[in-house]
Structures are given as C-alpha cells and as structure tokens.
C-alpha cells in the first residue's frame, strides 16, 4: 500500500480547507448553484433524488484496514449505516448532508483519503486490476504506475475543465481485469523483448450511449514517456473535443469523428513537442514512489497445503467456495479471496458499517491489513495463507459474505438506479434482487457456470450493461419502467459489446426472460466448459430471441 509523504498529505489537507471555504460561500449565497456545481462535482458531491451523494475515491481500489474502518465510521456517523461500492472502485454515500461534507473530508484526510476528482469534467480516479501484485498472469505490477498517474492527475491545472469526464484504467496482466478497452484511455503495461517496461495506449473506448471499443494509438510507449504522452492526448482532447453537445463531448466521439488514424497523428504531432521535456519521468521518481509502497512480508510457505487439499475433497461446500471465490497468488502458499457483496441481503455492492469493520478485522488477521475493491463491486482479501483459508471461510460464512458466486449469474453488477439516481429511467436494485432470488439454488447456479449479468438504470451505463454476458438496461416507455436485454457482451482482453435481443420487457417479466435465456444456453452447450457467452458467440442471438419471444406471446 502506498503511504503518503508530507507533501501528499499537505495537498489533501489544503483541499479540505479549500472545499470548506467553497461550501461556506455556497451556503452564504456568495456562490451560485451554477458556480458551485462544477466545484462540488470535482469533489464527488452530487445533489440527487433524496439527498446529496458523496463519492469517495479509493485510488486504484486499494484500502488499508484503517481506511476501511474510517469508511465504516463515516457510514455510521453521516449516512444510514452503509455505503455502496461502485463499478469504478469508489465508495458512494447516499445520505450525507451537504454541510457535513467538509467534516467528512477532514476525517478522510486523516487516513490519506479524499474525494478529489471522483466526478466532474476532469480526469477521474484511476482504476486498475484488483489482483495487481497478486495475479499469476501479471507482466508488470501496475500499482506504482497507478500512483504516478494519481499524482499527475491530481489538480492537473490544464485539464480541470475538459469537455466531459475522463476515465483512465491501467492493467499489467494478460487478462484485462480493468476493462481498459472501454475507457477514455486504457493503458496496458507490457514488456519489450529486452525486458523494458512500456505501455500500450488505447484511446476512445467507452460505454454510455455510444458504446465503443477503444483504438490502440501506441503499441509500445517506453515508460519514461507515460505522462507526457497522456498530456498530449489530453491536450488534443481539451482543445478539440466537442463542447456544443454534452452527448458528443467524450473523447470517443472526437476519435470517431476525426478517425482513429487522424486522431493518432494529432496526438503524435503534439507529443513531438513534449517528448523528453520536463514532464518526462525519471527512474529516481519511479523508485521513490515504489519505495513508498509497503509490501506484505510474506512467509516462506510450501506451494501446497495438505490440510487444504484434503478439505477440498472432503467438504464440497468448501470446494465450491474455493472454486469461485479463491484466486491463485504469485507467492507460494498464498491466495487471494473474494468477499462477495452479492446476495448477502443487501443491494449489489452495498456494505453495512458492520460488514466493513468485520472485513477490516479479517484483513488484519488474514491479509496483512490490506483490502481491494473490485469493479465488480466486491471486496478482496489479497494475501491470505492457504493454511488459514478454511478458518477465514468459516468467519466469512458467519458474516454471510461467503456466497460462492464470483463469476456466476448472481454476482450481478448493478448501478444504484432509480432508487437513488435522478438520471435513472428505471430501478436496477430490485431487478437484481428478483434475479438473485430466482437463481438462489447453488447447485443450479454452479451448473450454469460463468455468467456476467450487468444492470444499468439508464444509457449512462454505470452498471456496464454493454459488456455483460447478459446486459439489462432500464428504458423509459411512456413514463413506465421497461428493460431492454442484450446478450453476448464481454469484458477483458477480447471485450465485445452485447446485442439487443428485441423489444423491451416489463419489470415483472425480467426474471422469466433470464431463465429462458439460461434454458436455451443449457440446451445448446456442447459441454460444461462452454460458457453462456461462448454459446452466444457460436450460435448468435437468434435461438435465444426465438425462445424468449415465442414464450412471451
């Protein structure tokens, strides 16, 4: 985990003071609502359906237990006892009072946290692989680079008022767990043949109302040039991105309208001026940031733990949990454990203050005091000893946080939707709950196998429905809530956008439709290894469509 130095701390403290002053000026009427809006948004503060919503940054999804306990404290003291982990590795509070927000930020600053740039038309909180430093398919640990990006983007003076929001994700493994192909900029850390670290730079991907897979603008950018190259991309976007229509203002539209090749040329021409300039990274700086990461002091352990192996065979429920929620680790004798925030009696991604405290206690006992937040809205204990795994499983079960459903249908990704969000066409959480209730038989769920189901309450696509194997989108039909269903989307290295199967459905029909889709899949799969999304790829949407709409009549 990265530890702030005095300057990092001072900048965050000064931000609290600045925002307190801005809030006071707004409350006294000196700042108009229009003038305050962009300022509060750049601090993650929305005014929405019931109350303000505050989005707190969890930079690249890494939390210390001290930080997690602070999040619990804030949930209790300023909210209604819970928080919502979002698909961008942040946490959202839905009930804080506007005048309390400066105090909340002051509390956060004491544990090296903030809400800087979690919303607004600026460079947002950078996201990465939740298995960074853990995954066996990792080529480069992205955390140091993610922290360098955090510092570079924090109050970047040139890019505070971009045409629209700007999201960057970075990954360093074969499997793209950070969805870099659907970000404004996706960064894939790679190594050259000589072992030098560099980055593949992808621009112009995104979901929302115009979903697009990003374009590679640089196959290999040597690491020194990372920040200057981003400056060049952002400058081209800041100067030429559309500002006349907010629906056409994302960088993906600029890339599309200019053509990727022409956009790339503009970036390269701009970068020629910045290349080797004062923004160029140096090895000393990378080493300095690296040294501020406290890494776990792993013990020397055998790769295989006999008791664990025995239990896997003897206790099917344990085996089932391990098969879904436990992940291989780079370090012998260790593993990473997903804590499922799905199907524990709360909406997807929600956690109570008690859960947060309990997970913090477990992370202190089992995982070097470190927790990760995933873009699938779950938590991860990243460094658990295999020989203690069964003990941890027992603890998680007692907390109802051991649902063995990571990667399965009930691990639903859902945005807050119409229950909270003023932009929504329809609710998402009750739909997720209805589907989870329909598929609560664990044997059946495991038999269905891997299936990502994503729900968004409107075209803004916060629930990433385009990349769900099954995607559900809330639409408005004459003031009523309807749901459009798409299939065949996927995230990762071969990301693809789902196809809509046909006219939308009323809310009550949705669980039936999902069940029919699953039946078609089960009837057509060639083996258990062939996943739902593979069958869609092989057969197309037709058989699914036929079944669903034949029965609908």
């Amino acid at each position: 985990m990265y530890q702030y130095d005095v300057i990092d701390q001072r900048i965050v403290d000064e931000r609290v003071r600045q925002f307190r002053d801005q809030t006071n000026r707004f409350l006294s009427g000196e700042l108009s609502e229009d003038e305050f809006r962009p300022l509060r948004l750049q601090n993650g503060l929305y005014i929405q359906r019931h109350a303000p919503m505050l989005r707190v940054a969890i930079p690249y999804g890494v939390l210390s237990t001290r930080q997690l306990r602070m999040l619990a404290f804030i949930a209790r003291r300023y909210d209604r006892g819970f928080g919502h982990f979002s698909t961008r590795q942040n946490i959202q509070y839905n009930w804080p009072k506007l005048e309390d927000v400066p105090d909340i930020l002051e509390h956060l600053a004491t544990v090296q946290m903030h809400a800087i740039q979690t919303s607004g038309n600026c460079v947002r909180n950078v996201t990465t692989d939740h298995f960074a430093g853990v995954a066996q398919d990792e080529i480069v640990d992205p955390l140091v680079w993610a922290e360098l990006l955090r510092q570079w983007s924090t109050f970047h003076p040139e890019f505070a008022f971009l045409p629209r929001k700007f999201k960057i994700a970075i990954v360093g493994a074969d499997n793209d767990r950070a969805a870099t192909l659907v970000h404004d900029i996706g960064i894939q850390a790679v190594r050259s043949e000589s072992g030098e670290i560099g980055f593949r730079i992808i621009v112009g991907g995104g979901l929302g109302r115009t979903p697009i897979i990003g374009h590679v603008v640089r196959e290999f950018l040597p690491w020194r040039h990372l920040l200057t190259y981003l400056d060049a991309i952002l400058r081209v976007y800041n100067r030429y991105g559309r500002r006349d229509n907010k629906y056409k203002a994302r960088i993906k539209i600029l890339v599309k309208e200019r053509s990727p090749a022409e956009f790339r040329e503009a970036v390269e021409a701009e970068w020629k001026h910045l290349e080797d300039g004062p923004g160029t990274l140096v090895a000393e700086e990378v080493a300095r940031v690296e040294a501020r990461f406290v890494r776990p002091a792993y013990r020397e352990l055998p790769a295989i733990d006999a008791a664990h192996e025995h239990r896997l065979r003897a206790e099917p429920a344990y085996g089932r949990w391990v098969s879904r929620n436990v992940h291989a680790h780079q370090q012998d004798g260790y593993c990473a454990v997903s804590v499922s925030l799905k199907q524990h009696g709360l909406p997807p991604g929600d956690a109570t203050a008690e859960h947060m405290d309990a997970v913090a206690d477990l992370a202190d006992r089992f995982s070097f005091g470190e927790v990760r937040v995933t873009h699938e809205q779950n938590l991860v204990l990243p460094h658990v000893e295999l020989r203690l795994l069964a003990e941890l499983w027992g603890e998680l079960k007692a907390l109802r946080l051991a649902t063995p459903n990571i990667g399965l249908l009930t691990n639903i990704i859902a945005c807050p939707g119409g229950d909270f969000c003023s932009l929504a066409n329809a609710v998402s959480i009750p739909v997720a709950e209805a589907i989870q209730a329909r598929f609560d038989d664990l044997d059946y769920l495991h038999d269905i196998g891997e299936l990502d189901l994503n729900i968004s309450g409107c075209m803004n696509s916060c629930g990433h429905h385009h990349v769900g194997h099954i995607g559900i989108l809330g639409v408005d039909k004459g003031g009523e809530e309807w749901y459009q269903i798409s299939i065949g989307g996927r995230q990762g290295s071969d990301a693809a956008l789902g196809k809509v199967i046909g006219p939308s459905f009323a809310r009550a029909q949705v669980p039936d439709v999902i069940e029919q889709l699953v039946h078609v899949y089960l009837a057509h799969r060639e083996s258990e290894v062939e996943r739902f999304v593979d069958v869609v790829r092989r057969l197309g949407v037709e058989p699914f469509k036929e079944a669903v709409y034949a029965n609908a009549d």
């Binding site: 001072r10 801005q22 800041n238 100067r239 700086e285």
Partner: protein
C-alpha cells in the same frame, strides 16, 4: 469594469480593447481580435504604441508564434469558466512559443479558478465584476505544493531531483 489583478495586486488597466470595426487610435495601448491582427498585421505593427491580441477559445495560438515578441499583451477569453480551452492556449503560449509579456485571463474569470490559471501562465486576471478581490488574491495560495510541471514551475519530481543533485554536489 472588471478588476485587474497582476502580481497578486490590484492594478489599473491602461489597455483598450478595439472592436473589429473600431478606428485604431494614434496612441495608447490597444488589443484586437486575432482576426483583426491577421488582417492588419502590418499597420498595427507600425504603431508606436503597444499592441495586444485577444484569443477566443477556438483560436489557435500558433498564429501568433512568429510575432510573439511583438505583443505586450495577450488576452485569453473564457466565455464560461467551465470552458477549459484557454488553459491549453496559455501553456502553449508560454511553454511552446516562449511568450513573456502580460498574459491576461478575461471573461468569466472567478476566484475558484485563480490557482489553476496562474499555474498555466496567466500573470494577469481580469476578474468578473462580482468577485471578491481579497478572496481572489488569497486563492493564489490555495495550495502550497503541486505535482505537475506547468508554466509556473517544473513538476514536483523534477524539483526534488534538482534539489537532491544540488545537495549532493
């Protein structure tokens, strides 16, 4: 009249903006749109009094590159404070085209952008009328440290490195 802040102090403004159709006065500093500058470059340069240019957000500052030493003022317009193009314009003028004269932010110039504007190379701010001047001057000190390199100073890591190299010697 907007209040003009320069060098973190309120100063009086001797510059007059000339609309495109207005007659050019014999004396006194004036500034004109980029369009007018490009059309009347010769006659405007022939004046003995100082000349400046006003850039709108969409104007490309590269148009001024070859004449950069001739201007005593470049004003960059912010039609709305949420239109961030002027920040790039300013950095290009300072860092790429080497402009050293007065660079002034005009238009929707508010207290809460002062710190960013200064970082991008603005040394003069024509504050919107309703702004609290003391508060705007205080805003130059909103933050005591910054990470990125920009027009005002090198990035934190470059300064750190220079300091440690200096210390080692």
């Amino acid at each position: 009249m907007p209040t003009l802040i320069k060098g973190r102090r309120v100063v009086s403004d001797s510059w007059v903006f000339l609309a495109d159709e207005a007659l050019v006065p014999e004396s006194g500093p004036v500034y004109v749109t980029l369009k007018r500058w490009l059309a009347e470059r010769e006659s405007l340069s022939a004046r003995t009094a100082a000349v400046g240019v006003l850039l709108s957000p969409a104007d490309d500052p590269e148009n001024l590159a070859s004449d950069i030493g001739r201007f005593a003022l470049i004003a960059v317009e912010f039609p709305a404070f949420t239109d961030g193009r002027g920040y790039s314009t300013a950095r290009l003028l300072r860092e790429r085209y080497g402009y050293q004269g007065e660079m002034r932010a005009v238009g929707d110039v508010l207290r809460d952008q002062v710190f960013l504007l200064a970082r991008c190379g603005f040394d003069a701010l024509a504050l919107r009328d309703d702004q609290n001047v003391e508060s705007a001057i205080a805003a130059f000190a909103d933050f005591s440290e910054v990470y990125q390199n920009a027009a005002d100073r090198p990035g934190l890591f470059a300064r750190r490195l220079a300091a440690s190299a200096g210390g080692a010697r």
